[in-house]
């Protein structure tokens, strides 16, 4: 009886239903897992692993500054990124991110994550990663990555 009352109380006082709430937090965990897998694939240089979390139609865009300080936009596709990851390189590509905002709407998620990029132990550049993910039968997949790139004024 006490249990029933507790459940009823939760249902009344919470704006969300319990089901929605649990759904939301497990989505957040699954979304972070997908992004962590991508960063792990980048660290170990595993192109197959990276492909497992990227949508085939993934697009990656970057905003950096040209030598006059003007913002420049460059665009790559999934194949370009997988190739960079899989091409043998001597130092580890180590991107360290901090999860700031994660927004979810149905099958779309948007993640805002400041990052620092290291070549081995050497700091290289920093900025913010924006990931858009889509929920598929096979889990959350990255459909879009946008990042900024600079040498200083790092956030995390």
């Amino acid at each position: 009886m006490k249990k029933v009352l507790t459940i009823l109380t939760i249902l009344i006082f919470s704006k969300m239903s319990i089901a929605q709430n649990i759904h939301g937090s497990s989505d957040t965990t699954a979304i972070k897992q997908t992004i962590n897998t991508l960063l792990e694939a980048i660290r170990i240089g595993d192109s197959t692993l990276s492909r497992s979390v990227l949508s085939k139609d993934m697009i990656k865009q970057r905003i950096s500054n040209d030598k006059n300080g003007k913002a420049m936009l460059s665009t790559k596709n999934s194949g370009d990124l997988v190739k960079v990851i899989g091409t043998p390189h001597t130092v580890v590509y180590d991107e360290k991110i901090v999860y700031d905002v994660i927004k979810i709407d149905g099958d779309l998620a948007c993640v805002w994550a400041p990052y620092k990029f290291y070549l081995g132990d050497q700091f290289s550049y920093c900025g913010v990663d924006v990931f858009q993910l889509m929920r598929t039968a096979d889990g959350w997949k990255v459909i879009y990555i946008m990042d900024t790139e600079r040498k200083d004024n790092c956030i995390p």
Partner: protein
């Protein structure tokens, strides 16, 4: 004197400097202005005005569900949308958004905005618009838009 106290209080109690927070407020206003212009252009059916808020390499991604409830991703450039808006139609395309999260990092901004789309006065569909904007010499421009589309469970 009162003004000085207000400014000192802002400086003391805010993590940001006064100048930074002013900059942020004016960026936020300019970003909303760009997106509002986009929706004005849609309402007016003005394809020239619409194009003025997009970056040249604008990418449009849309997540909807097929008849089996499976999420489907489609990726397009902006030409299709501009053509749709510019083609004479009897009813007003009225998209109403609510600004939820606006994140800014240097020359990048990311906006998460639940939306309801009306054809004239008739509700048509809803979802969320996730805009990516870049700061240019000519103001903030939209260079990527990912959105979800559904008939019910609307947020705003």
């Amino acid at each position: 004197m009162k003004k000085v106290f207000v400014i000192l209080a802002v400086l003391t109690f805010s993590k940001m400097s006064y100048a930074q927070s002013m900059q942020r407020a004016s960026d936020t206003a300019a970003i909303k202005q760009t997106i509002n212009t986009l929706f004005d252009a849609m309402r007016k059916g003005d394809s020239t005005l619409l194009r003025s808020v997009f970056s040249r390499s604008m990418i449009l991604q849309s997540i909807s569900t097929d008849k089996n409830g499976k999420p489907v991703l489609s990726t397009d450039n902006v030409d299709g949308l501009v053509k749709d808006i510019g083609t004479p139609h009897p009813e007003v395309y009225d998209e109403r958004v609510v600004y939820d999260a606006i994140k800014i990092d240097g020359d990048l901004a990311c906006v998460w905005a639940p939306a309801k789309f009306y054809v004239g006065k008739q509700f048509d569909h809803c979802g969320v618009d996730a805009f990516q904007l870049i700061r240019t010499a000519d103001g903030w421009k939209v260079f990527s838009l990912v959105h979800t589309t559904r008939q019910d469970n609307c947020i705003p």
